[in-house]
């Protein structure tokens, strides 16, 4: 989706404001929101679906909301969608009864092992790579209407494959519940001048991870 989240290359977002001695969470509710998402989210829904749900926040809200406000919106929207909560419960704060379909509920003792294991996106299946290291490729000029990890600023641009980093779940499919569609992902080097024109530095470049489906031979 060509949304506000796909920000690479915009120039009107103002100065960067680093904060001295920034706390991990700026208020207790941020920590609780982070933890709620991690606890509910442990393995469900796919991370890509959560990202997509954040991308569905209307642009003006997306820019105005703080990071963990977006998490609140995305998590509650997904839970309502999946039937874990009703909107009435969410608005009233009152439970209408135990959740009908309760998956595994993460316990305190399970947190450390869950974090240590993580959620690898790599898939142990044999899939032939469509491209090889050193090959010149072009990022496809496509405009998927749903979730994608192909940033707009790279579309249609020429690059060089520098590394194959394995067989990975395809987010465009996974975010929509269309399965894993595992395929190779490569680090692709794009020269700054290819991305931004002749005024860009001739030495500099951007490296972007690209799935097979995002690329075509140059």
């Amino acid at each position: 989706m060509n949304g506000i989240h796909d920000m690479g290359g915009m120039q009107d977002m103002g100065p960067i404001r680093p904060e001295k001695d920034e706390p991990v969470f700026h208020a207790a509710w941020e920590g609780r929101m982070f933890a709620l998402d991690m606890a509910v989210d442990g393995g469900w829904p796919p991370l890509d679906a959560f990202r997509y749900q954040i991308e569905l926040i209307p642009p003006a809200d997306y820019l105005r909301m703080s990071y963990y406000e977006k998490w609140y919106t995305a998590l509650t929207e997904l839970m309502v969608k999946y039937g874990s909560l009703t909107r009435e419960e969410l608005d009233s704060g009152k439970s209408a009864g135990p959740a009908k379909k309760t998956g595994h509920v993460l316990r305190g003792a399970e947190v450390a092992p869950m974090i240590a294991a993580g959620w690898p996106a790599t898939v142990e299946v044999k899939v032939d790579p469509q491209f090889r290291t050193g090959q010149r490729v072009r990022a496809r000029s496509i405009n998927p209407v749903s979730h994608t990890r192909l940033p707009r600023y790279a579309r249609g641009k020429l690059g060089t494959i520098v590394q194959d980093h394995g067989v990975v779940v395809f987010p465009d499919a996974s975010a929509q519940g269309l399965g894993q569609k595992p395929q190779h992902v490569y680090l692709v080097r794009f020269a700054m001048r290819e991305l931004w024109g002749a005024e860009a530095s001739p030495r500099d470049s951007v490296y972007i991870s690209m799935w097979d489906d995002y690329l075509e031979p140059a």
């Binding site: 989240h5 796909d6 920000m7 690479g8 120039q11 103002g14 100065p15 960067i16 404001r17 680093p18 904060e19 001295k20 001695d21 920034e22 991990v24 700026h26 509710w29 920590g31 982070f34 709620l36 509910v40 829904p45 679906a49 926040i57 209307p58 809200d61 406000e69 609140y72 509650t76 839970m79 999946y82 039937g83 909560l85 704060g93 009152k94 439970s95 959740a99 309760t102 509920v105 993460l106 305190g108 947190v111 869950m114 974090i115 294991a117 993580g118 790599t122 209407v145 940033p151 600023y153 975010a175 680090l187 991305l195 500099d204 470049s205 951007v206 972007i208 991870s209 690209m210 799935w211």
Partner: protein, 218 residues
């Protein structure tokens, strides 16, 4: 929870977003959500406490600093770190969530690396903890890929024209950590003294490591 994601997501395209109101008071909304999810048997408060504690106290840039200092004093380790970062970082006990697959990129006198996630907020949690607000900000996400030298200047880092800038846009589940240059005249320092000099900013690529902790940002 229902795995019927495809039909759940179909709803998105004709969805009017009116109900995605910004929480008027996020602290109250999140508190209500936590109580609701506990009442519905979907969340265990002990898991929430453990998650907050982990990311507030146990996982953070000190982990990455240990990795960097080890690489500075042990050339064999540095070799492993640059060729298989995930395994080398695991040697020090770090890995898992949001660092399932890692790549370490080395800064030298002629190459400067900068890490960004233009599409969301991808960041190497096991070695740096949760990202600071500026890393997740529209300003940083948008400009890092089009004007990395300008972004670095905002952080007080002026690069010579003959230094090559490599920007790493975290579009896949591959997380990047910058191995900063070891400051000059630190031969007398041991590994833990060196680790104390290494800043989060240097490991994202927006700073350098100073010879002493004074003058270091974050």
């Amino acid at each position: 929870m229902a795995p019927d994601l495809a039909s759940a997501q179909e709803h998105d395209h004709d969805h009017d977003h009116d109900h995605q109101a910004v929480p008027s008071d996020p602290a109250l909304r999140v508190k209500a959500l936590e109580s609701l999810l506990v009442a519905k048997g979907l969340v265990d408060r002990a898991a929430l406490d453990a998650l907050v504690d982990t990311y507030e106290h146990k996982v953070g840039p000190r982990n990455g600093a240990r990795v960097v200092a080890r690489a500075w004093v042990d050339m064999a380790y540095k070799g492993r770190l640059l060729s298989n970062a995930t395994a080398a970082i695991a040697e020090l006990g770090y890995g898992g969530a949001e660092g399932e697959q890692m790549l370490v990129v080395e800064n030298t006198a002629k190459v400067h690396n900068l890490v960004v996630c233009t599409l969301c907020s991808c960041y190497p949690w096991p070695v740096l903890g949760l990202p600071p607000v500026w890393y997740k900000s529209a300003a940083y996400r948008s400009r890092s890929v089009i004007d990395p030298r300008g972004v670095l200047r905002e952080f007080g880092l002026e690069l010579a024209d003959d230094v090559e800038v490599r920007v790493w846009d975290s579009t896949a589940e591959l997380r990047f950590l910058v191995l900063p240059e070891r400051p000059a005249a630190t031969e007398h320092l041991n590994e833990s003294e060196l680790a104390a000099l290494v800043t989060r900013d240097a490991m994202v690529g927006v700073g350098r490591v100073a010879r002493s902790r004074e003058g270091a940002h974050a």
